[in-house]
Amino acid sequence: MRYTPNSATVVRKMLQDIGLGSMAELYADIPDALKLSRPLQLGDGLTEMSLRGHLKTMAARNISVEDMPCFLGAGAYDHYIPAVLEQMLQRSEFYTAYTPYQPEISQGILQSIFEYQSLICELTGMEVANASMYDGASALAEAGIIACSVTRKLRVIVSETIHPEYLQTMKTYAKSGHMEIVTAPAKDGVTDAEALLPLIDGQIAALVVQQPNFFGNLEEIGRLEQAVHAQKGMLIMAVDPISLGILKSPAEWGVDIVAGEGQSLGNPLSFGGPYLGFMAVSEKNMRKMPGRIVGQSLDSDGKRSFVLTLQAREQHIRREKANSNICSNEALNALTASIYLTVIGPQGLRKIALRSHQLALYARDNLLKRGFKIKYDQPFFREFIVSCPDPAAINEKLLQHGIIGGYELQDGLMLAFTEKRTQSEIDRLIAVLGGELHA
């Protein structure tokens, strides 16, 4: 298959037209010694029909959450995706466009980003959001860098209850020397405030917590917020957007920077990406935020219009002085999030959050009734850990019964619930866990 429209005859004519005899002459500036002396070994090109068959076979080697109910969460959630999304996202004016550098022919993209920013502000309660970042982990790492730049300090204290991959990502970003990560221990599945508070001193740039935390538990943030702000540090919070349908917003907790994973807003699981990281800050830190930002202005006829703004923050202008090198955003995933929120509406968001949580409660109560131990006795949202000695073996058993199980921890299985799950699926899950169903 090829996607080049010019036939061999046309190509010959074009070459002639510009005074060249062959394609090879187009590479006269590359020394022969550096040229590849053989064809690439990628095989022959496939026709679309063969390609389709090949890809179908390959996809069929995977088990998808369409095939089996899925109780995995841990940062990526199997929420229902309304049909409107797939249709609207196939509009190629959206997906085949570049970053909206030229506002006059990009108003649609720009407005959609402006609306996305507004929706993130509504969810988080913050004043300013950017146009999105790669994912939750990298957004959180960049939030740490901002805090170091604003406070001119290096120490970022990170609770060990955040997603382990977020922590690993922050540690990688910290190898730059622009921040130092200090971890604060967990106790009973939440941040150990007694151990953490003494760590908060004049050296602190920021404290990072996640709500609900990696284990699904809710963190009591009030005391921590006071302690961090008393030392002129910044409070950074990672949040799940669906939870914000019922949980206190980051702004209500007094947070300075919010960063989070936006996958659950209508983005398919897609084996881990593409997702989107969202970031929002208070107005006074607006010019410290990385990434694209769309602003509203007027055109020369006085019409409301949108344009990429505050660009002096960005790499293409600031170059070696830039605190972030981010160039793209996840615009299509941000658009997905906006369409999703528009389709489910304000009541839908609350209902989805509530139903997910109610199903989790139902599962927990029934597990307790059967004598299972729930690892942490904490208020939680949507996700909790059931204690068990060999979670991998249990997951294997669940698979044999047509269930994608939970996230494997050392001595427990973390189970997540979305509005897609049903009572009967949960009953089946518990029956397998309880040994009532045999392979």
Binding site: R287, Q311, A312, I317, R318, K321
Partner: protein
């Protein structure tokens, strides 16, 4: 392009007006013209100690950004807060708007700065070099 008499100039296109041990620092007409429409000024903090050559602020236009460097060492004793809400004042009246006032602790720093003739030559050279 305007160059005002009686001021010191730095190669970074800042001007300095000295009153006893106090130095008023701003950006020159050349600097504001090259930046274009200034949209934001990040001011230094009060009481901050600064070194000669150290950064004391950032000036942003729509398509450019420029650091402000202190031509002298000392302590910031005043900042021009008006610029926070009206950064365009730097475009309109560059020599009338200082960015900060520095209490100098080493007046010898002034010896390394340019007078208006030297600065005028520098600007001419840069204009040509930029073509």
């Amino acid at each position: 392009m305007k160059i005002q008499e009686g001021l010191y100039y730095s190669v970074e296109h800042e001007w300095l007006r000295v009153e006893d041990d106090k130095a008023y620092v701003g950006i020159t007409d050349f600097a504001q013209q090259h930046l274009g429409d200034i949209v934001f000024v990040e001011l230094p903090e009060l009481d901050e100690a600064v070194e000669a050559g150290g950064q004391i602020g950032v000036i942003e236009s729509v398509k450019a950004v420029s650091s402000m460097f202190s031509p002298v060492s000392g302590t910031i004793i005043e900042v021009n807060e008006e610029l926070e809400n009206a950064p365009e004042l730097l475009n309109e009246d560059p020599y009338g708007q200082h960015i900060a006032v520095i209490k100098m602790n080493n007046t010898a720093d002034l010896d390394g700065l340019l007078n208006e003739t030297q600065y005028s030559e520098l600007c001419e050279k840069e204009e040509q070099g930029g073509e």
